[in-house]
Amino acid sequence: MPSDTTSRDTLISIRNVEKHFGKVTALNGVSVDIREGEFFSLLGPSGCGKTTLLRMISGFEMPSAGDIHIGGEDMSEVPPNLRPTNMVFQSYAIFPHLTVAENVGYGLKKQRLAKAELAARVDEALALVDLDGYGTREPHALSGGQRQRVALARALIMKPKVLLLDEPLSALDKKLREAMQSELRHLQRTVGITFVLVTHDQEEALTMSDRIAVMFDGKISQLDTPEGIYKKPADQRVASFIGVMNFLPAQVTSASDRTLGIDVAALGKLSCPQDDRFAKGDKLKVGIRPEMLTIVYDGEKAEKNSVPAKVADIAYYGDMTYYDVVFGDGSHSASVSMRNTAGRPILPIGTMTRIRWGPESIVLLED
């Protein structure tokens, strides 16, 4: 579970930041506070401005408007080499002409440490990333995962206030990526430094972060915990970017102080808590996750909140089965995921069945 960072102080304060490259707007009024010691992710498709924002925190890009404070200090006049941030680059940017130890100790040279102390600090940093004894290796003899660890050690040895990670796992294969996800999370808790991660991989953001800012078109669409973003996406774009979401058209039939009556295509009428985004007669979309829909198997009784449907397609994943189902009148369909527990058969294509849903798992989204 993500650690509780809600009570901590703001470390990075980003206010109304804009960035224009010629006529292209990369960031269009971004404001966000990143707290001390949290694992914060900037998530979005390529071109959403997330990397630009990260490069502004590190000082490689300057905002066209707005300002960035780190630890209460205005960063607008501070060059990258004087900022309390360190970066793990997407390409790792390991210096090819230096050994692993020289790479890791690179940033300490300015501090003019005694040789023995420098070596001790380097060894300590290498141990932190499980690269004990790799100091004398040449970078070209390292694997992708090892290069990544060197890049991490090289940044962490500087004891920065903020560690910036630019798509650090994108160059690794799936197995290694998953292992590194939990390792990074573990490392962040060990060192207690604020991590800001840029990624386009929603799964990566969900598993690692305390909080996520989902970005589209140079703006933050939603800022919340992974659970909040998954369960209560702010709009249709966020909903479809994070995980799989079924959308069904709906209309508000009644609105009172407490409840909202809506008529959902295929599912029928239902009542939700009041929501001031919507008034009577408004058209909207209802979002429901595949795992929130359940197939009612033979023998289980047809009950409330269930509708007839037909299995149109199956995708078998081993632990899970994904069904594409078409609802009663044939005009709407949805994806349903079922855990393959003991004794539960895989339904063949064409099977007539019923789909049950819970009204509490429904998300209302503006059309």
Binding site: S58, F60, P79, P80, N81, L82, T85, N86, M87, F89, Q90, S91, A93, F95, P96, H97, Y106, G107, K109, K110, H140, R154, A155, M158
Partner: protein, 271 residues
């Protein structure tokens, strides 16, 4: 690999003979014990090399050529570093035009460059000397230096520079600790190529030299005396050996640069 067809193979062999037979004649007649360049060979001798050793004017010409070549190599490499860095990393108005303009001497006939420079220098009232030759040689060597160095700078991953800045190093520190070590093989390669070009260059040197002639100009002067021909052959032989060695060294450093920057080994270069 498929074997070549017989006709292509014949063509290749004839081509190589045409290319290298004249050069092979150099050592043959350089060691031939006769003042006349003709077959049959009359005997083996080192006399022509002794003659070179004893000719004072030759030593002076060699000294001039070496000085000019070294200074030219250094100046054109320094200019090349600035231009290559600028073209690889920065954007400025009319960049393509400017870079293209610098590269023009690469294809300009040397006789045009030589005559034009002579006119300008005389108009400026500068006396012809080794320095005027250096000006001309820098003009034709700089494009080669830029071409070699531009590839070294382009292969340099910009995130390496950013990583250095990010780790607290200054711009100047980054240049010396990251950029320079990574482009050093390119710099050495540029120095060697510019040196070789300047050493062999004749036309510009012929136009711009004063009383201190360069080696190629001296050799040309010697051709008027048939008796000296075998010693010119000996000299030519020594220069071929020297040029080959320089080229091989330059190529070694070029390959090392590619390996350092992680470029694929598919680019086999000159040899």
């Amino acid at each position: 690999m498929k074997s070549a067809s017989p006709s292509l193979l014949t063509y290749a062999v004839i081509y190589l003979i045409f290319l290298y037979a004249p050069i092979l004649l150099l050592p043959i007649f350089a060691f031939n014990d006769s003042a006349i360049i003709a077959l049959p060979l009359s005997g083996f001798t080192f006399d022509w090399f002794y003659l070179l050793w004893e000719t004072e004017a030759l030593h002076q010409a060699l000294y001039n050529s070496l000085t000019i070549a070294i200074i030219t190599a250094v100046i054109s490499t320094i200019l090349g570093i600035f231009a290559a860095r600028a073209s690889a990393r920065y954007d400025f108005p009319a960049k393509r035009g400017i870079v293209g303009f610098i590269m023009v001497p690469l294809v300009l006939p040397e006789i045009i460059v030589g005559v034009a420079l002579l006119v300008v220098l005389v108009q400026l009232g500068l006396a012809l000397s080794s320095w005027t030759v250096i000006i001309g040689h820098v003009l034709i060597c700089t494009p080669f230096s830029i071409a070699i160095l531009a590839s070294a700078f382009r292969n340099l991953d910009i995130s390496l520079e950013e990583a250095s800045l990010d780790l607290g190093e200054s711009q100047v520190g980054t240049f010396f600790r990251v950029i320079l070590p990574l482009v050093t093989p390119g710099i050495i390669s540029s120095l060697l190529i510019a040196f070789t070009i300047s050493l062999d260059e004749f036309i510009i040197a012929f136009f711009l030299t004063g009383t201190d002639v360069t080696l190629p100009v001296y050799i040309w002067g010697q051709l008027r005396f048939p008796a000296r021909l075998p010693s010119v052959m000996a000299l030519g032989f020594l220069m071929v050996i020297l040029s080959l060695m320089l080229l091989l060294t330059a190529e070694y450093f070029r390959r090392r640069a590619n390996r350092l920057s992680g470029a694929a080994d598919t680019d086999k270069g000159l040899f």
